[in-house]
């Protein structure tokens, strides 16, 4: 029988990159929320942050072998829940607009979406990682 001989990847470097990418995106999103504008520097920040976070996230969940199945489960579940939370947040913004009419600037809205998506993914990823598993967390 073939014995499994694999090596773990550079987890810390990947996690570090993910946090750096997230920090760049969060700073850019906060800028857009507060100043309601989108300029060249912010565009570079958003693109750079998104690029770093996407590359490191796929590396984290195991697009590059060898992979850790627990990290893949944790990462995938946190990304899924982050997507749902962002969708719910947008629905909330839409419905709250009926009762308290407020005009959102496109840059502000973009900043809010990025902020909610990135922060919820980081929080959920940290939570699931510390818990150990994603099973028996939410019973749908």
């Amino acid at each position: 029988m073939e014995k499994p001989e694999k090596k773990t990847d550079s987890y810390k470097a990947t996690m570090g990159l993910m946090w750096i990418g997230s920090a760049i995106l969060l700073v850019s999103s906060v800028y857009m929320i507060i100043w309601k504008m989108f300029n060249d520097i912010i565009a570079i920040g958003v693109l750079l942050g998104a690029m770093i976070i996407i590359i490191s996230f796929f590396s984290y969940i195991g697009m590059e072998r060898p992979k850790d199945e627990r990290l893949m489960k944790v990462g995938t579940m946190s990304a899924t829940w982050s997507w749902y939370i962002t969708l719910m947040f947008l629905c909330f913004l839409l419905f709250s607009g009926f009762y308290t009419p407020r005009q959102f600037q496109p840059a502000e809205l973009f900043g809010l979406v990025i902020f909610v998506m990135v922060s919820s993914m980081l929080v959920l990823n940290t939570y699931f990682n510390r818990k150990g598993d994603v099973e028996e967390t939410f019973h749908l």
Binding site: M1, K3, P4, E5, K6, K7, T8, Y11, P66, K67, D68, E69, R70, L71, N129, K131, G132, D133, E135
Partner: protein, 74 residues
């Protein structure tokens, strides 16, 4: 799920890090497995049992859902 990984690992004089490297996961995953907080895939359970030289059901003891509910009632 209960596990006897720690016991078998000690018999083979393996550290958590060594076992983790052999099966291609991080040490934290072995820690959560030994605590019974993580349910491994069949592939990982198989890899661990191969390294420890025992059958899968000797290492991992899966509890029946009905037994679990009865335990919770008691």
């Amino acid at each position: 799920m209960k596990t006897r990984m720690k016991e078998y690992r000690a018999r083979h004089n393996l550290t958590q890090a060594q076992l983790a490297e052999k099966v291609g996961v991080r040490r934290e995953t072995i820690v959560f497995l030994e605590k019974g907080k993580y349910n491994p895939s069949l592939r990982l359970a198989h890899d661990i049992s191969v390294v420890l030289g025992v059958k899968i059901d000797d290492v991992f003891i899966f509890e029946d859902e009905s037994d679990k509910k009865e335990d919770e009632k008691d």
